[in-house]
Symmetry: C2
Subunit: 349 residues, 2 copies
């Protein structure tokens, strides 16, 4: 163990973030349900009645708080610790949905939750210490070491090949292309978010880093990566079922982020083989639990959507798409609910 | 890490044991199939034609070798390490069944295998060192310490209450009663097998322990516990579906064995909190993987049977029951195979 104060802060922030993000989906869904019920008629696909529903706004604010906590967590603890803990938000969603929305967790779903927790505990126990960083130049030298430059170059080449060669041909038939692009960009997003977060943390601590051009460069990289990532994530989600995209995206994104972090921040230097292997096993267990939770859910409903929120360090994008999908769930729920559904379904089909 | 030679020996023996036991079920099943095919007619429930089939004998010998390896493993490494590794025999069975018997592993089955392996790795990394024992008297003093005597007394009282109060009333409706008795007895079996194995190991190393009455006492305890355990395991398997009994038995048996070992051999003394928590998480992961493998199997066929073999340290009992069930599987397989099945099924029903 031997957790440093910074690691502990990062860990608690990551937990908090998962709690908020997990809860936000339930609150928003309750808001959408209430809006749909209040408007009397079926909320059309283009309807915006939910904007008048306070509960929906509470959910939105909860999510933003969660994403901010996630962003700050990266400034305190290694990505190897923070990223996999994102899976805990699925558990929060699943448990809250069970109690609040009466969406029963199946036996295997419970097993998936247990596994995510057990794997997370193993990861937390063996997480490396965050190395003390005192200036943005230090991060800059980490980012410009040959091994990491090679990683960045490979990512950029791969993204270009995928986006301009494969995406036009197979993008709509092979789920790995769009999700691959956003996972690759996602690993760069997290690294640049971590660089930016650390600079801002130092600035708040009194060591102003905004005077260095590197800080502004990292900010630019964050924006570019995050926008690209979100763009392709929305394409993936528009083209394929969320239930297929989410686990694949989670696995690829988390794996690539850990690889990037290990190369750039040398997280595993000075760790024993036992710790590293335990971490990898913990990570595999969390991934398995995540997959299990997704597979056992019936179709693409409810929780799948909560999957990709905690994984990206952004606040605002993809909200339109997300609302659309949540709305669809609510409508499906209402259409199939006993009191009103039978009639409506018949009216429509 | 820092594996002692003895721990390494115990670990390799446990792996070997799982390999042999896992393989034995596939070999025996192949033997039974061949015997059923050779005899031309449907092998009756009372049929013994498989005794003429060499392959069946190869399977039987493989199983005995596996059980002996398991027994010896307990003499070298802590039960906390050896017992959970028994789950690996299910993976061996599942993988061999996939390739040799063409019984396809489903997606979730593969996930279950991955989890059993990841959990086992975590357990192995954090396993405590076997403490050096130089005489049977030393084991005797461990076995007679107040805490362990209290454990033994509680087990005996519980077994009596279950066997004489609950078994006659609810034994045939509640699966926990028979499986509870054999899990409780099983934890004592493993402890006494470990005591006996260590004594025999010392004897082979030149320090004759057979001159001490304690060695013979442990032998008596092994026989009593194992016979009781097997008796109630057969009752449980006769009364309930193997697919229900096996995972419950595995979970209870392994948990109680670890509790007993921690009390008697003080496995966790001198281990850090991180190691102990990691071990527990690894154990939970292996259990989850085991449950997943069982749940995803269709009904009670094929692999469920391989479950309880590696967990008990005996060689010979329960063979009759086991063969009966394997035979039933083979018959089911043949009855439902396309070439011959349709007809037979119609003849029968």
């Amino acid at each position: 163990m031997g957790f440093s104060t910074d690691n502990l802060k990062g860990f608690l922030l990551a937990l908090l973030s998962s709690g908020f993000i997990g809860a936000s989906f339930i609150i928003k869904k309750k808001g959408l349900r209430r809006a749909a019920a209040a408007s009397g008629v079926r909320a059309g696909v283009g309807g915006y009645s939910y904007l008048l529903e306070p509960l929906w706004w509470v959910g939105m604010i909860t999510m933003i708080v969660g994403e901010v906590a996630n962003f700050v967590a990266y400034a305190f603890a290694p990505a190897v610790l923070v990223t996999p803990l994102g899976a805990l938000s699925i558990i929060v969603s699943a448990v809250l949905a069970h109690f609040i929305l009466n969406e029963r967790l199946q036996g295997l779903g419970v097993l998936g939750c247990v596994m995510c927790i057990a794997g997370s505990v193993v990861i937390v126990i063996h997480a490396p210490q965050e190395r003390p960083i005192t200036s943005v130049q230090e991060i800059w030298s980490l980012a410009t070491q040959p091994a990491f430059l090679l990683y960045v170059a490979s990512v950029i080449v791969l993204v270009f090949v995928l986006a301009f060669h494969f995406a036009p041909r197979r993008g709509h038939s092979n789920v790995l292309i769009f999700t691959g692009i956003c996972s690759l960009m996602g690993s760069l997003s997290v690294m640049s978010v971590k660089a930016l977060g650390t600079s801002l943390k130092l600035t708040f601590e009194g060591m102003n880093q905004l005077i260095y051009p590197q800080t502004w460069f990292f900010m630019l990289v964050v924006l570019t990566c995050v926008i690209t990532q979100m763009n392709y994530l929305n394409k993936a989600l528009d083209t394929f079922n969320t239930a297929i995209v989410s686990p694949i995206y989670y696995v690829m994104f988390t794996t690539l982020t850990i690889v990037a972090s290990v190369i750039m921040f040398k997280d595993w230097d000075g760790q024993g083989a036992g710790s590293i292997i335990s971490e990898i096993c913990g990570f595999i267990v969390v991934l398995s639990g995540t997959i299990l939770l997704h597979v056992t859910k019936d179709s693409d409903r409810n929780l799948s959507r909560s999957m990709y929120a905690p994984l990206s360090p952004t606040l605002t994008t993809r909200l339109a798409n997300e609302n659309g999908e949540l709305l669809k769930h609510v409508e499906d729920d209402m259409a199939s609910s006993e009191e009103t559904g039978g009639l409506r379904r018949h009216e429509l089909y």
